[in-house]
């Protein structure tokens, strides 16, 4: 089974990290990722820019409306995701626990099994 592990946290806190702290968190998460990648279990991983960089396209009456900002104003924001191959839900939870331990913030990880997955092509 494929799982998406989605990371949520208050970006106002993540954006207040010093560069050193940010680098360290990325390295620590990277170490977890590497172990799962070497075991052939980790697919695409992405970190999203702050929601201030987002635009949202919505259906309008006649044409689509492009709005500045994220889909929803929330206290925590969707910050990034991992695609994991796991035999059981427990294995996916264990992965999320490891990410959580490597991440000093109070981020939350949502585990969502994938219904359809297209790995795409290598992007040039």
């Amino acid at each position: 089974m494929l799982y998406a592990v989605l990371c949520y946290d208050a970006e106002s806190e993540v954006c207040a990290w010093s560069k050193e702290m940010d680098d360290k968190v990325m390295a620590d998460l990277g170490a977890v990722n590497q172990r799962y990648a070497e075991a052939g279990k980790l697919g695409p991983v992405a970190r999203l820019m702050p929601t201030t960089a987002a635009v949202t396209v919505r259906k309008g009456a006649t044409e689509n409306i492009v709005m500045d900002g994220p889909f929803a104003e929330t206290k925590e924001q969707f910050l990034g995701f991992f695609v994991l191959q796991a035999e059981t839900l427990d294995e996916a939870i264990a992965f999320a626990r490891e990410l959580s331990a490597a991440n000093p913030a109070n981020g939350t990880y949502e585990i969502r099994p994938l219904q359809f997955f297209n790995p795409g092509v290598p992007i040039t």
Binding site: A10, S12, E13, C15, A16, W17, S18, K19, M49, P50, T51, T52, A53, V55, V66, M67, D68, G69, E73, K75, P104, A105, N106
Partner: protein
Amino acid sequence: MRDLAWIDLALTSARPQAMGALLRYFRDLDMAEEAFQEACLRALKTWPDKGPPRDPAAWLIFVGRNSGIDQVRKRARNQPLPPEEVLSDLEDTESDLAERLDGAHYRDDILRLLFVCCHPDLPATQQIALALRIVSGLSVKQIARAFLVSEAAMEQRITRAKAKVGAAGIAFETPDAAARAERLGLVSAMIYLVFNEGYSAGLPEKADTPFCAEAIRLARLLLKLFPAEPEIMGLTALLLLQQSRLAARFDAEGQIVLLEDQDRSLWDRAMIDEALVLIDKALRHRAPGPFQIQAAIAALHARAATAAETDWVEIDLLYQTLERIQPSPVVRLNRAVAVAKREGPEAALALIEPLAGKLSGYFYFHGLRGGLLKQLGRYREAHEAFDRAIALATTSAEAAHIRQHIDQMQREAAGL
């Protein structure tokens, strides 16, 4: 240990919203600050055991407000002053954490908090110090160190600034669209000042000041509150682009490395990419403004893989546009750099000579003029200009950079 670090971050990031709301309740900067401090102390006591609240800002507002009201009541026992006149909406102290849903207030609260720091009677340095103290929550010590003054002197400056703001009265009514736009403009300018104080200060003297990072945090905060304002996108992009070059701006000895000589592999790609996205977003609004144009200019540098590939024609055009909407000798001076690249030093020199009167006390004017004269082989005049620049330099790195020019010129003049 881990908890404490996390709490510190949560308090820092909740600060603008909590301080903004407490300022609305108490209508007094000192009272709001005291209440916030008290709330932070309680957070440090209770959060490690109970875990973080779901909404730290709402928690701090609630606790800060109650402790502030207690303070007012305690003082009232000793003073005949009727506290209810000082406070607003005392009766709804029980309205608890519903505060967090109060999105409309929250936006104007933070804008007001930023806006009080931009009072026109305050000189730029006081605006910066006040914003960093009140909004960012930097310690007086940190701010004093960055301004190279004693802690006591900075404390006094901030106290005076607060007194001025208090005496002038703070506008508490919800601003209409025009007033809000005006506030946004002033606040954006203040954030830019904060950034510049950190940026132009120049390493190595102020290497460890967090001003630039703070300014970016404030700009992002403002953009989050006003997500469809292209000038705030421009401001944020501009700051990110300038900050992206931080690691390349000085060499190992702390000497300035000019843009064209910088190792571009040291530029921070993540910051550049975020800035380019913001510029793209801003352009869709078709409402250009000074920050967007300056960001677009910085973006042309960021997009050039090497200095030689820089699109100076486009940069010159953008500076011309900037000059039209915001005529200023400094903009003209910057444009001259592009003109020097496009048409040569003579044309650039002709462009800046008329600025001699207005910019006679400006380091960069004499630095650029000296550089252009040097390119033209007019060494004696160049030397004079460089000497003036050195006299006006505010950091040792600036002065050292100009001395390098003089040394190089003397070697050239000697035919070496």
